[in-house]
Symmetry: C2
Subunit: 233 residues, 2 copies
């Protein structure tokens, strides 16, 4: 069956969160930590991302967006780096680091080609404004913003995949979830979506990233340009 719509994981799949957060952390925290390892800081912050979302996924609290969760986990990260005293205004700016990430190099042009014949939307755990900021910064063209903001919950909860399919109105099998993370694709496949893995071997910097899927997928691509070629875009 033909693919009619593509829905994208964003952090790691379309944008390089680690380099961007590292750059912003080093810039904003320079007055407080002379030789901050920005990459290690990004890793430590990202490590709190899953557990913080789980408080919403589990139903223990009502939906709050990722900016709020990142803001809540930041004091622990700052404390771990010995700079717990960073002022609130700087902490708020640090949360904005996640809005200032750069796309992997091939992404903007590949998305533009894919958009000619397909509907496109992010299905990310980031909220609407964060997706809009990343899209504007990097020239990413989307038809809609789906994901956590739209569904008021976090992947891999079923509602995110089901709402994405319903929003564009094609069959699940005509809707392609694109991610650099096998766990996201496994969840999407459970709801009937087609799946595409994109290798991001530098997502975690020196710790690497997924070079190939660990689950069955419809497409396994070297990058987004490779996926576009396979879809005839």
């Amino acid at each position: 069956m033909a693919i009619r719509a593509l829905v994208f994981d964003v952090f790691g799949t379309l944008v390089d969160w680690r380099s961007g957060v590292a750059r912003e952390a080093e810039r904003l925290l320079a007055p407080y930590a002379a030789a901050l390892d920005g990459g290690a800081f990004a890793d430590a912050w990202r490590a709190r991302y899953g557990p913080s979302m789980e408080t919403v996924r589990s139903g223990a609290r009502a939906y709050v967006d990722l900016d709020a969760l990142q803001g809540e986990s930041l004091p622990e990260v700052l404390a771990a780096f010995g700079i717990a005293g960073v002022p609130e205004a700087v902490r708020a700016e640090l949360v904005q680091a996640w809005h200032r990430l750069d796309a992997w190099p091939e992404v903007p042009e590949a998305l533009a080609r894919l958009r000619i014949g397909h509907l496109l939307a992010p299905v990310s755990n980031g909220p609407v404004r964060l997706m809009v900021d990343l899209a504007r910064r990097n020239g990413l063209g989307f038809d809609a913003i789906l994901g956590a903001g739209y569904s008021r919950d976090y992947k891999p909860k079923p509602t995110l995949y089901r709402d994405a399919v319903a929003a564009f109105g094609f069959a699940a099998s005509e809707t392609l979830m694109v991610a650099a993370h096998s766990s996201d694709l496994a969840a999407a496949a459970q709801h009937g979506l087609a799946t595409a893995h994109v290798a991001r071997p530098r997502e975690h910097g020196p710790a690497g990233g997924e070079t190939a899927p660990s689950v069955p997928v419809t497409f396994a691509a070297a990058d987004l340009a490779d996926l576009a070629r396979r879809l005839g875009a």
Copy 2:
């Protein structure tokens, strides 16, 4: 305070629903009604729009999208025109007429200019896919699709205006609701949004349309190009 985001009513404000539905009805119903008055058909269908949404607004039923509501009210309209026997496949195509509307002439270029310095989204009672289809058909550039699909309810319920403000994250007073309908603007103003009225004297064909707001507004514009000029776009 400066305007940072614009959110738009769509049916009547950005697109000419009456001419589009009339055109599609005359085309699709030609085999069943030789001399159908497409404009009258559009008016009759649109008249059922408010009452059908009220079943959701009131809480009497769970959210269903506007395609579903239009599909439910269509048999009555067909019966009123003496063509109750139109096949299901044709009725389904008629519902798609609402996805094939043309923008008012100045809209695409005015939106493009406004988008340079502002975030833009529809806040319509139409669902995501309908907005996407209208945007693609007419070359309308939006940053996100907000409104009924995003909020699972219908204007003028407060959640649509509040969710739109929250999604872009500016102050309500920095978020401008743009509509050709005073009732929509009155509701937006209740939630602190700035408001812009756009005159659409031909929205209802021979029955006219609002040439000026009947409520206090922040801007009263002759058309969207006029509003863009006033905002310096």
